[in-house]
């Protein structure tokens, strides 16, 4: 911006040393300014109160409890135990095992969810009567409760479920979808991907609408094939959507709990016990609120680090491209 042009986005300069600086508020304007500030504040305060009450306070309590031996009973005064809960957390094979499972679910799950969503978004990009219906159908699994999804797939993939019954009637051996440790984890990831890709599909469909039609047309005129058009036009245009879809799916998968309860119960042999399951179904019911809070804090930190890492990578990539 040229120095001769007034920058109206900056705050008015105040009087310094008795001299009135150009742009400083005058008498009547100052009174109006206070009123405007109050009006603005009155608009912000309710949202701020809700934000503090529903986010800052609970997280603050979780952090506080994570340094105590609190058992969740109101009569019991939490005693500060320093870093004991964090030390115990990383020494516990149960917790570290759950962290590994959660990592696998988050990484493999988000890749699968996004691959599935992106592929379908490309197929359903053009609006026709069929694709309009297909979009609704594809989003449908996301509307279902994850607990219901777990029961549904348990009935389909269980040892005596629909798939194994069909295999049995065809004379084939049953598949251990839920009774083998590796298979059960893969099944869990697949079911989560099925249930969650609807939102990512919408993100990609919205992103595809933002890809400039003239660039696509130019690529077509220049004789670019489908792959080259996707690689050099569509994909760069989708980059912000990919970032959003990856971050949201990964954070969502870090909290995987409901579907574990109804699909596998964390088994077999703890092979599908996620970190959120460990917090909510193991440590919290044992009234180890201090330890469970420490685990929750670790989960928040992991989610934050992952989010910032993906965003930083995205920004670095954008800067390099620019």
């Amino acid at each position: 911006m040229s120095s001769t042009v007034v920058d109206r986005t900056r705050a008015p300069r105040r009087a310094v040393g008795g001299d009135t600086v150009v742009g400083a508020p005058q008498g009547p304007r100052r009174r109006r300014g206070i009123g405007a500030v109050l009006v603005e504040a009155s608009m912000v305060v309710p949202a701020l109160v809700v934000f503090v009450a529903l986010l800052v306070v609970p997280v603050g309590y979780a952090v506080y409890y994570s340094f105590t031996d609190y058992n969740g009973f109101p009569n019991r005064t939490p005693e500060v135990v320093g870093l004991d809960n964090y030390v115990r957390l990383f020494q516990s094979t149960d917790v570290t095992g759950a962290l590994v499972v959660t990592g696998a679910v988050a990484v493999a799950g988000s890749l699968l969810v996004n691959a599935l969503a992106l592929g379908l978004a490309l197929l359903l990009w053009r609006t026709t009567r069929f694709t309009a219906i297909a979009r609704v159908v594809m989003f449908y699994p996301h509307v279902l409760s994850l607990v219901a999804v777990g029961f549904l797939w348990s009935a389909i993939l269980g040892p005596q479920g629909a798939v194994n019954s069909l295999l049995g009637s065809l004379g084939a051996s049953p598949l251990p979808f839920l009774s083998d440790e590796t298979w059960a984890l893969a099944t869990l990831i697949g079911v989560i991907a099925w249930a969650q890709f609807g939102v990512q599909l919408l993100i990609y469909l919205a992103g595809l609408q933002a890809v400039p039609a003239e660039l696509l047309e130019a690529a077509r005129v220049d004789g670019a094939g489908r792959w080259h058009t996707f690689r050099h036009v569509t994909w760069p245009g989708l980059a912000p959507s990919v970032t959003v879809a990856l971050v949201t799916s990964m954070i969502s998968l870090l909290k995987t709990y409901d579907v574990v309860v109804s699909l596998t119960g964390g088994g077999p042999a703890g092979s599908t016990k996620t970190f959120a399951y460990q917090i909510l179904a193991v440590d919290f019911p044992k009234r180890q609120v201090g330890l469970a809070s420490a685990e929750a804090v670790v989960l928040i930190i992991i989610a934050a680090v992952l989010s910032f890492a993906v965003l930083a990578l995205r920004r670095r990539h954008d800067e390099a491209a620019a």
């Binding site: 109050l38 009155s42 309710p46 094979t93 009774s179 083998d180 440790e181 077999p268 703890g270």
Partner: protein, 417 residues
């Protein structure tokens, strides 16, 4: 400020205050009401409708409204913990037992004259205090069997030793039946414990206290049973795929007549009775013991329908009246006994043949013993055994050796002691 601006500010402030004041009011604002909240377990036998019907006469007699609440989490224990943390604890809690952490949160019922005669009340006493009252006993160590399958397999008598039990498994397999039905989720570990109770309690009476005192480890208690299970899994008597089977399907398999033996607690009686006429005759026996031990061994049992009153309740008198009704009113007791396959000395309400067989097993048992983490003062030094035990038992199905499973159990106990 303009009038319009002042109005906007005022409206926003009022809205904020209203929002804040709304946040401040909660369920306790109704503390003056004549309502009692009871947190209960909801199962196939104990449905919301059943609970409402059970307390209806009490409501009519006293004018006290009883609000039945099911678990909002995975179970009553988790829900109770959540509600206490949120300051919304129920007045009465059903289905869980007092332990060292919960005890300070409960009303001491020792002074209530009606508590002394309730079943198993002394077993669950903590330092002499009665904190819980129930209506009977749930027998835990039972093996249901298909009499038709036994006849077809040539098994003439129910097995009393583990050797006889293994022989019976082999014969049932040869006859084309699933020899032993097990299931995944919470049921895997429970079934192994149920089969163990008579043997373990003969070898190590009050083993929970012995583990607490450091005289015994959990691995030492359960490794012999882990070894039996591993042998059965290897032989195909226990299906490896059972570990992915939901418990309801396991129930259905047994009721459907495909199964030879099915270890489970006495609550299965209600399901069997409700299933109508079965294509076979159901029998039941106490699990075997080791060669040379007296048969039947001690019977694992838990207090049935345990009721506790939350000390933080603002309606303690009403809550006590409700618990007194549930554990002393004859009609209420009989209803609960029938509904969930519960047994009570001197109250022969189980009229089905299977129910009568279980009553006989309970009567003939040399002792009713605490199961799992224990009861009252006979307790393990760790909490959460059942979940971990299931996880470790499931690892036997997926290839872990019995010795490693026992070592993992000990390592877990050491980490969580």
């Amino acid at each position: 400020m303009t009038r319009r601006g002042t109005g906007v500010v005022g409206a926003a402030l009022v809205a904020s205050l209203l929002a804040v004041s709304a946040c401040g009011s909660g369920p306790d604002s109704a503390s003056g009401s004549n309502e009692v909240r009871m947190l209960v377990n909801l199962t196939d036998n104990l449905t919301q409708e059943y609970w409402n019907e059970l307390v209806q006469p009490f409501e009519e007699q006293t004018g006290i409204d009883v609000r039945i609440e099911g678990p909002t989490g995975t179970n009553v224990s988790e829900t109770f913990s959540s509600q206490l943390a949120a300051g919304t604890g129920p007045d009465v809690i059903q289905s869980i037992f007092p332990d060292e952490q919960i005890a300070p949160e409960l009303v001491d019922l020792t002074g209530e004259t009606w508590v002394a005669d309730t079943p198993m009340v002394d077993t669950y006493a903590m330092e002499g205090k009665h904190l819980v009252a129930g209506i009977g006993s749930q027998a835990q160590s039972l093996v249901y069997y298909n009499k038709t399958a036994f006849e077809e397999a040539g098994i003439e008598a129910t097995p009393q030793t583990w050797e006889e039990f293994s022989d019976a498994l082999a014969k049932l397999a040869d006859a084309g039946y699933t020899p032993l039905q097990t299931a995944g989720q919470w049921q895997t570990g429970l079934q192994l414990q149920q089969l163990s109770h008579p043997t373990v309690n003969t070898l190590h009476p009050r083993w929970q206290s012995a583990v607490s005192a450091g005289e015994l480890t959990l691995g030492q208690v359960f490794q012999p049973m882990f070894e039996r299970y591993a042998t059965w899994i290897e032989a195909g008597y226990v299906q490896q795929s059972d570990v992915g089977l939901d418990p309801s399907t396991a129930d259905a398999n047994f009721i459907g007549g495909k199964v030879g033996m099915y270890p489970l607690g006495s609550w299965l009686v209600a399901s069997i009775d409700n299933a109508g006429e079965l294509p076979f005759e159901v029998g039941v026996f106490s699990p075997p013991v080791e060669e040379g031990m007296s048969y039947p061994g001690p019977q694992g049992a838990t207090m049935a329908s345990p009721y506790m009153v939350y000390a933080g309740s603002e309606r303690t008198d009403n809550a006590l009246q409700l618990v007194k009704y549930l554990v002393t009113d004859q009609a209420a007791i009989e209803s609960q006994l029938v509904q969930d396959g519960v047994f009570r000395t001197g109250t022969a309400v189980q009229t089905s043949p299977v129910g009568q067989e279980i009553q006989q097993i309970v009567d003939e048992a040399p002792e009713l013993v605490a199961v799992g983490e224990g009861a009252g003062d006979t307790r393990l030094p760790v909490v959460g055994l059942n979940d971990k035990f299931t996880e470790i038992t499931q690892s036997l199905y997926t290839g872990t050796s019995p010795a490693d499973a026992a070592a993992e159990l000990d390592a877990w106990a050491e980490q969580n002691r």
